[in-house]
Each structure stands twice: as C-alpha cells, then as structure tokens.
Symmetry: C2
Subunit: 294 residues, 2 copies
C-alpha cells in the first residue's frame, strides 16, 4: 500500500466514524433515520470531506477542528444525490450498485431523508452535537450554505433541469458544472484552510484548486462515458449521448477534452508545489483523480 493509500484509508476511517456518530445521535429512530443511514453510509468515496481534512493537515491544523464541517459537506452531498435520484428528477434506480434511496424506502421517506440530511448538516454546524468554535462555524457555515444553495449547487441543478434535451453552449456547460459540482468541492477545501487558520492566500488557492479539480473530474467523467466499458464503469456507457446531453466531449471532441483535463491536472499540481512535501497527499489525489478508470 502506498503512503497515499494509507493516508486515504485513515482519513476515510475518521470520517466514517464521525458520520456514524452523528447518525447515532438522532433521538427519533424511524424509517427516515434508517434511510439516512442507508444513503450516507453507502461506501461513498468521501472525496469532499477528505479534501477538507487534507487541506487542514497540509497547513498544520488539527483535523478534528475541520471534521464536523467535513461531515456536514458529505451530508449535503448525500441529500443532493437522494433528491436527484427521485422519479421527478433523474429517476435513477441504482446508486453505487445498490437500490437508490426511494427504491429501498419509497419516495416519501426518501424525500424526508434528503431534507433531514440537509437539515442535519446545519444542526452540526450550529453545535447541536458538540462544543463548536463559533467564529469558525459562522465562517464555514456561510461558505457552505451559500455554495450549497440557490446561488450554488441548487442553482446548478436548476440549469441542468432547464437544459434537458437541449444543446447548450460551452459557456453555459461550464457554469452549470461549476455550480452543480464545483462549489461543493470548493467548500471543503476552504473549510480545511479556515480550520487550520490559513492565510488569505491559502484561501484563494483553495478556492481555485476546488474549482479546477471539479472541472477536471467532470471532463474525465464525460470522457469515460465514451471510452470506457459498462463492465469497468459499473453503469451503462454512452448514456450522455442517448440523453442528448451536452458534455465536454460532445462540445469539444475527445482529444481537446483530454488536453483540457491534462492542463487542469498540471495546473493543480503547480499550485500545490509551494507547499512542498506537505502537499504530497493532495498531489497524489490529483493524479489519482486524473488516472481513474471509473
């Protein structure tokens, strides 16, 4: 196992334990709390909370300070997946190889489980479950709530809905992606910096880094949808073309998309260079994301 893999496993362990702690803290056990558990603890990659801990670590902070906010980001991510999978949205029956939340528990309970996870993220940040550093909570809460809301992720979901079955411009695709996935990857990077007491420059870098890897991630997704196989990907390929969805590949072609992903990777690595060895984990994460096959 490489140092990167060891560190990643360590982070994921810490994150999963804390997420489970919050779920266990729910007083009213019900089908909804079961559905929350099911979707939240469904072996996700935990990229967002890992980014928060890694940024905090890189700047010499205590990851325990970043952890509640990192978990809040993951809950918001999970709620958005539950609601996105609902019949009135993408109508997806599968999520990470298992029945999606509404397939398992029914639509009404899935709707409430999503609502409850979004709400729980804020209960955490307002310190319902532990003593919380108030100035840090106010800063992280302001970032996360605005990046998740109508001018952030929900704004991106809205453009996505409005663009269904339509050809859209590269400019609008970039905006859609930046809001829908970029913002919620950027928020944990900034949270990690704030928890470590980083500088304004660190914060600016974290913002750019989050947007860049979000874009890189999306382009690689679009490429894999064309070049991979269903076996490797674990879901049907060619689904974007079938849904007449505008993607980086459909708008720029395969070669130019691959170039763009490569450039973004190089840019992210260069940005991290100033942190030297302390950025080893984040550099390896960038390489991992660019090399992924699914």
């Amino acid at each position: 196992m490489t140092d990167f893999q060891k560190q990643l496993e360590q982070y994921m362990l810490v994150i999963d334990e804390k997420l489970q702690y919050y779920i266990d803290s729910i007083e009213e056990k019900s089908i909804v709390s079961e559905a929350m558990q099911y979707s939240l603890m469904n072996s996700g990659k935990r990229i967002r909370p890992v980014l928060a801990l890694a940024f905090c670590d890189m700047l010499g902070g205590d990851i325990q300070k970043a952890l509640p906010f990192a978990c809040a980001v993951e809950m918001i991510h999970t709620y958005s997946l539950i609601h996105d999978d609902l019949p009135c949205m993408d109508d997806d029956d599968l999520r990470r190889g298992k029945p999606s939340c509404h397939k398992q528990f029914g639509e009404a309970y899935a709707l409430l489980a999503g609502d409850a996870l979004l709400n729980l993220a804020f209960e955490i940040m307002f310190g319902r479950f532990e003593q919380i550093d108030a100035p840090l909570a106010m800063e992280c809460g302001r970032i996360l709530s605005s990046y998740a809301g109508i001018d952030g992720m929900i704004g991106g979901q809205t453009i996505d809905l409005e663009s269904e079955e339509k050809q859209i411009s590269l400019e609008l695709l970039k905006k859609l992606q930046a809001l829908k996935t970029g913002k919620l990857l950027t928020a944990p990077c900034k949270i990690g910096v704030l928890a470590a007491g980083g500088s304004k420059e660190d914060l600016t870098l974290a913002e750019q880094f989050g947007m860049d890897i979000g874009l890189q991630f999306q382009i690689v997704d679009d490429i894999l949808d064309v070049t991979s196989t269903a076996e490797v990907l674990g879901k049907p390929i060619g689904s974007d073309a079938q849904n007449s969805k505008s993607t980086y590949v459909s708008l720029l072609g395969l070669e130019q998309s691959a170039q763009m992903a490569e450039q973004l990777k190089e840019k992210s690595l260069q940005q991290l260079a100033q942190y030297g060895d302390k950025a080893a984990f984040l550099k390896a994460l960038v390489l991992e994301l660019s090399r992924r096959k699914k």
Copy 2:
C-alpha cells in the same frame, strides 16, 4: 381597526418586506427562484415570524434583531408545505386557494424550490445577506435547526407518514403534533426572547407558550374540520374522517376537545399575565386563534 389588528398589520408589513429583500438578493434568477417567490409570498398568515417579533417587542427588544431569524422560520415553514404538497406526500393541488407549487411549476422545480428555501434560511442565519450578531445567530440557529430536523418537524412528518390509515393513540397523536407543528411554533417564541436578551425564565415560558398554542391550534383545526362548512373553511370538511385520520375529535369527542382548547387558551393567557400590558398583543393573538372560524 383594533390596536391588535394595527399591530399585526405592521408586523406583517415588516416581515413581508424583509422576506422580499432576501428573495431579491438571489443572484441566479430561474424557474426555481420564481417558485420560491410564488410560495413564500403567497399571503400566508405569518404566525411564526409574528410570534418572534411579538416576544421580542414584549421584552423591550429591537425587532430588527429578531427579524432575520423570524424570516428564516417562515422559509422553513414554507419549504415544509411545498414538500408536503408533493404527489409522493399529501398530493395537494391547492395551497391557500392557489395551485400548489408543483402544480404551478412541476414537481422537479417544486422539489428544488423547497430545498432552496430550507437552505436559504440557513444562509440568512450565517449572515450571508447582512452583518449578523454571531452569538445570537449560533443560539437561534441551534434551536431552529434542531426543531426543524429529524428530532423536530421532520420527525413529526415521519410519524405522520407511518400513521397513515391507522388508528393511533392519544399519546402518539400528541407527540406527532408537538413535533410536526409545535416545534416550529416554539422556535420563533424562543428566538424573540433571545433577540431581546430575555431571561432564562422568559425562555422557559416561551417554550411552554409555543407548545400550548401549537396544541390549541391543532385542536381547533380538528374541531373545524367537523363543525364548519366548506364555504367558510375554503377547503372540504370531513377530510380527516374520510382519510381515517386520528384527530383530537375522533379520539376525545367534540365536547372534550373543545374543553381542552379552552383550557389551553386560559393557560396561555395566565402565563402572559406577568408581563401586564406589554403582553396585550400576544393575549389578543391567543384569543384570535381560539375564536377563528377557518
């Protein structure tokens, strides 16, 4: 116009102006922001934010300090109505005499409008739109988020779902109602006290007062569903019996229910007595709620 009516109109004006300010502050105008505007500004009675301002006023506080949190409560109330009206929940086509949000904008946009309103409530409390008093925001945010979540309102919605088409005990009905509607009436009372810098005793009273008028409100609702006419009520009567829903009337009978509502009214008035003339508005509000015909 009575002093009560004048004061109520004044409060509602202040609340509606502030709610509109937040909606206008959304940067990404879209069908979703339009749906948020539609449901939020749909001439609601504003009971929850009025309670926050009235408690703040009674204790000599500045209502401007309570106002952002009062608006946050109203947004959470509105999101819960939008999601409750969805086909997978109560499947209601009408809300306050107009098409419900999903009837007007479609299910997907209504889902996102609900999500966005819940999120916006927290953006407000974390000070996205104005300078906000951090210690007050942390206290109000902790109360409101936990009262709105899985151990509060959503917990009540869950019991409601689980109890559909079932006879339930009086005890469970009380718990359901306390969570589903009581918590979100109690939160603004406590917020008003906190914004005015009230004492621990004021806070305890606000908690009890909120639960009591929530219960009183529900019992009167159940009574009207049996004794009123569709013309006066603006919606079909007898719907609870038709849906085999357990209510205070079905469990206790009409007479005992009316007695219980009367006792709660008297209790609320007695509690307010210690504040003398300063409680005039809240006393009138309690009487108004008990006398209402719809």
